[in-house]
Symmetry: C2
Subunit: 254 residues, 2 copies
């Protein structure tokens, strides 16, 4: 295990369009993987509506419980983009028009395109630091331990890549996956014994179907490579003993 303390995160997906089923969220999976590479574990995610009191309350709950909070969505120019104002409300500070953000937006648009709605994208809670948007200029921001990002996946990813260096995480979670064409019910009891004997790793069991055959992927996660490798070796042995070929592969993640 690592000497560095564990850093944790909560991801808040803000948007009626995800709760109505119109839009399939694509941001949680990206953030979960990218944060893990920085040694930050995502321990919770919530999808919440575009309602100021809900956003403010959820942000206040999450920022007290996790090292970092990441929000996606609701920072565009239209009436349903209320994330910045709601987060200002959560922190009890006014919304201000950030001079640097305004200058960037004015430089990005033609003079006849500049209007109040577009300039609203320069409004951030007082005390926030900007997060640069290399794609379309409208920035995100950080206030306290809360990072506010847009909902459009390609822009969110570009902005996250620019802020990763600001995060201080612990050891990244390492993982290995061993799969086999068997069923969970066949191996559950000896697998539980392996988990019990290897408390320094976390073993997850995930069924799949490939080529019309049932299989199970066993994902071993931990911060120490040797601990992960020892548990993986035991799982390979378990599969062999039940006459199943152990495949070092994950049919889901590739």
């Amino acid at each position: 295990m690592s000497d560095r303390p564990t850093a944790t995160a909560c991801v808040l997906i803000i948007g009626n369009e995800v709760l109505s089923g119109r839009t399939q969220d694509q941001n949680l999976q990206f953030l979960a993987r990218a944060l893990n590479e920085s040694g930050v574990r995502v321990l919770e995610a919530r999808v919440i509506p575009d309602v100021a009191a809900v956003i403010a309350g959820t942000v206040n709950d999450a920022r007290a419980r996790f090292t970092y909070v990441f929000t996606t969505g609701g920072i565009g120019p239209t009436h349903d983009d209320i994330t910045s104002a709601s987060i200002a409300q959560a922190f009890g500070v006014p919304v201000i028009r950030h001079p640097g953000a305004e200058a960037a937006l004015r430089a990005h648009y033609r003079p006849d395109e500049v209007n109040e709605a577009r300039l609203k994208m320069a409004d951030v809670p007082e005390g926030a630091q900007l997060i640069d948007n290399p794609v379309s200029r409208a920035p995100g921001f950080r206030i306290g331990n809360v990072f506010v990002l847009p909902g459009v996946p390609s822009i969110m990813r570009a902005m996250f890549d620019g802020l990763r260096h600001r995060l201080s995480g612990g050891a990244p979670m390492l993982s290995r996956t061993v799969s086999g064409f068997t069923t969970e019910g066949t191996i559950a009891a000896p697998l539980a014994d392996i988990q019990q004997a290897h408390a320094d790793v976390e073993i997850g069991s995930y069924p799949f179907v490939r080529y019309g055959r049932f299989g199970v992927s066993l994902v071993i996660r931990g911060t120490a490579q040797d601990a992960v490798d020892k548990a993986a070796a035991e799982i390979c042995r378990l599969l062999s003993e039940t006459g199943v070929e152990a495949i070092e592969d994950d049919p889901i993640t590739g």
Copy 2:
């Protein structure tokens, strides 16, 4: 608006594999759409880890705040499947082996395949009613206003289809989408006026890129068809006035 009271729901996605980014959740979008057809609005979703205290605490919080709670994941035979026990803990009742579920599992497996791990899938909180699993027999269950479903999307969907008739919802949310090749910043101010004049609908604005061109989809949602239609007509007029063709289509949902 409808005379029937609004029914609300919270979806709890239980599983380390979603929080680690290994697995892309596919269940929220299905449940959000299917519940809406039954007149139930999903107002929150949470992704939580396979940790008993977190599952129990989150279930207790959600079942007090929403008409219905739907959980997915963690009801298989392996050591990391702890949803049933955690929900029993939330309700303060013991786990019992359900005779009907045990009989169904024993009938499904060959005698030499029956083992304690597989029979664990018949364990439910005392007082729970089973939810039939037409695919692989291991049932889900309902206790109070909490519906417990598996994580495998195809099985979850089949089980949900069997329980929909048990839900009593209000009026389904109707929606129309009008799209146009423009940008949010161009139409934001008059769009806000339309939203203000049509408080009986909710208007969402979602940018997209298609054929290399920027566009915006405007989604109008409400429970009364005529209110939705009136707001949609105003939005078509707004787009026409800015020289943009209004397309009755959503590039995201098809």
